[in-house]
Amino acid sequence: MASHIGVVPPPMTPAKGNEPKTAEKIDYLNLPCPIPYEEIHREALMSLKPELFEGMRFDFTKGLNQKFSLSHSVFMGPMEVPSQASETIKIPTAHYEFGANFLDPKLMLFGRILTDGRLNARVKCDLTDNLILKANSQLTSEPHMSHGMVNFDYKGKDFRIQFQLGNGALFGASYIQSVTPHLSLGSEVFWAGQHRKSGIGLAARYNTDKMVATGQVASTGMVALSYVQKVSEKVSLASDFMYNYMSRDVTASFGYDYVLRQCRLRGKIDSNGCTAAFLEERLNMGLNFILSAEIDHWKKDYKFGFGLTVGE
């Protein structure tokens, strides 16, 4: 009893986040650098569009060095072939993919080659502190189906500029700027010479610690809105609305993303009558088991896949 006298808990110093935000003056000269324009829907895409697949998948990544690693990957399963009729044709295919990655703080090289003759290559190079060069190409043995693209990114203090050049006379430029610590606005312009199409788009992104809301409008007729709420450290819920005012196509989807200690589970349901789930479970150190399921009630198309990923 005596020990309790005189023991007063010290007054809690308020944590920095609890300071009233209205009393803080926004320092407009010190805004954070915004997310790159093409990643503006990043959180929603990560939660709502996992890499669903059908069939069996096996990936093995072996690091030879701190910077260099090789990867082997086998895939067996039905692939959808686009056909004129409303029924999609599924053809069972199997392929093996060999890849090599080189990772350096300044340079990243990434190459993949498949048994059906396709080659994928990506380069990302930091030319200076603020200028990044990215190149990406996909070569196939079919004529006129290969394409390549080069990007120049300049990162300013609170803005980013990107120039894009692609084969087939594709030019693009985008600019995104932080307007307040939470809001960033951007726009892009592109011109496709081969199809004689050009377009302009605008995007906005508002994010706080707990939620991210983005909106994007493009002159190709696409309006996309998304909202991701981080309900707790392990759970986040995402929803997405896409409307094409040229073709009057509306899609809304809603999904969840659970990141638990042993697994990551993503599920989503769509307004097209499609539900999907994707589970990555960690069986052991470096060993991941993947399950993917997609049910389309309208078209009665059911796709289930399983796989194993070995290596970091």
Binding site: E233, Y258, Q262, G267, T275, A277
Partner: protein
Amino acid sequence: MASQSRKGGKNRSGQEGVLARVTNTISQSSIVQQGKLVASDAAFVTKKLLKSTGKAAWIAGTTFLILVVPLIIEMDREQQMNELEMQQASLLGTPPVAPQK
């Protein structure tokens, strides 16, 4: 004989005539006709309802199986692991770690 049978027959037909006439009137009355229509409508609607309920139950069931069942399984495993950790922490005498939110 024949006349008797004919008479009997006539009588019988007369009696049957009465029975037949009664049943005919009953079966051709408007109430019974309406009742038959209602019953066939009801059977049609019930069949459709059963079919659509069956369809809805199938869609709901498979969607629940894909979206919710893995979640329940994983959350259960997470909880088991947490309990195991708390048990081990208390066994080894280490101060219990506050559960991560």
